[in-house]
C-alpha cells in the first residue's frame, strides 16, 4: 500500500520541525545569558534540513522525507554592554551577552509551527483516504 509511506514522510518532517522548534526554544531561553567564567556566552543554534529518501526502492523520488543533518552554531560575536557593576563584567567593564536575535528566533518559530501544521494536515488527509479505501465495496 503505497499511501502508507505518507506517514513516514510527513512524520519525519514533523519530527524535524519539532527539533527545529526545540532549538528555537533553547535559543530564546538563552537570549539574555551572559558569558560564563570561560568568557564565551551562549551561541545561537540553527538546524539544517536534508532530504532523506524513504521508499522501498532507494532511488524512488516519490517518498522524500526530511532529517536534521547538522545543528550549527552562529559564530557572530555576542552583544557587549558596558556595565562595570555587573558581576560578570570583564577587566574593561564590558559584559558579553549571547548572540541570540530574538526577532529572528520568533520568525523561525512561526515558520516551524506552520510547517508542522501543514504536515499534520497531510497526515490527516492521508488517513481519511486510507480509511475510505478500506471501506471500498461495503
Amino acid at each position: 500500500m503505497s499511501m502508507m509511506n505518507i506517514f513516514n514522510v510527513s512524520g519525519s518532517a514533523a519530527s524535524a520541525q519539532s527539533q527545529r522548534l526545540n532549538v528555537v526554544a533553547s535559543n530564546l531561553a538563552n537570549a539574555d545569558t551572559v558569558a560564563g567564567p570561560d568568557g564565551s556566552a551562549y551561541k545561537a543554534r540553527q538546524v539544517t534540513f536534508q532530504t532523506q529518501l524513504m521508499g522501498a526502492n532507494s532511488n524512488d523520488p516519490t517518498s522524500a522525507g526530511v532529517r536534521v543533518s547538522t545543528i550549527s552554531e552562529d559564530q557572530t560575536p555576542g552583544r557587549r554592554v558596558h556595565d562595570p557593576k555587573h558581576p560578570s563584567a570583564d577587566a574593561d567593564g564590558y559584559v558579553t551577552y549571547s548572540n541570540v536575535n530574538a526577532v529572528e528566533e520568533m520568525v523561525n518559530m512561526i515558520s516551524a509551527s506552520r510547517s508542522y501544521q501543514n504536515n499534520v494536515e497531510v497526515m490527516n488527509t492521508a488517513k481519511g483516504l486510507i480509511l475510505k479505501t478500506l471501506q471500498l465495496g461495503q
Binding site: 499511501m3 519525519s12 524512488d60 523520488p61 516519490t62 510547517s115 471500498l136
Partner: protein, 136 residues
C-alpha cells in the same frame, strides 16, 4: 469469464494507484518545504496513466539500439520516473528550494478529491455489477 468482470475495473485501479503515488509525491514536497536545495516534483498524470494502462509509448526512455545496451525500466508500480517533472519556481528562493506551498496545497486538495472520485467510480462499478448479478 471472470476477467470480463474485472477487466473494466483495471483502468480505475491503475488510476487509483497513480493517484496514491501522486499523493505521496506532493506529501514529500510539503515535507521538504524547508529543506535547502530541494527541488519540487510533480507527475504528468495523463501521461503516467497512459503509460500504466499500456496506451502510448513511455516518453524519455533510453533507447536500446545496440545489443549491449541495458533497457531502463525504472518502473514504480506501473508508473515510471520519466513522468515526473520538476516544478518551475514561481518565486526564487535564496536556499534554492523550489517548493511553492500554495501550489502544493492546491495540488494536494485536488488530488485528494480526485482520489475519492476514483474510489466512488470503483464502488459504483462494483454495485452495478452486483445488482446485475442479483437481477432485481
Amino acid at each position: 469469464m471472470l476477467n470480463r468482470l474485472t477487466d473494466a475495473l483495471d483502468f480505475q485501479a491503475q488510476a487509483l494507484n497513480l493517484r496514491s503515488e501522486r499523493q505521496r509525491l506532493i506529501a514529500s514536497n510539503i515535507a521538504n518545504a524547508d529543506t535547502p536545495g530541494y527541488v519540487a516534483r510533480d507527475m504528468n498524470f495523463a501521461q503516467a496513466l497512459r503509460q500504466a494502462t499500456g496506451n502510448g509509448a513511455p516518453a524519455a526512455m533510453l533507447a536500446a539500439s545496440k545489443p549491449g545496451h541495458i533497457t531502463s525500466s525504472g518502473a514504480i508500480d506501473g508508473a515510471s520516473y520519466s513522468t515526473l517533472n520538476y516544478a518551475a519556481p514561481s518565486q526564487t528562493n535564496l536556499d534554492r528550494n523550489t517548493v511553492d506551498m500554495d501550489r502544493e496545497r492546491a495540488s494536494f486538495a485536488d488530488n485528494t478529491v480526485k482520489y475519492e472520485a476514483t474510489l466512488r467510480f470503483i464502488g459504483a462499478h462494483v454495485k452495478t455489477t452486483l445488482s446485475a448479478i442479483t437481477g432485481q
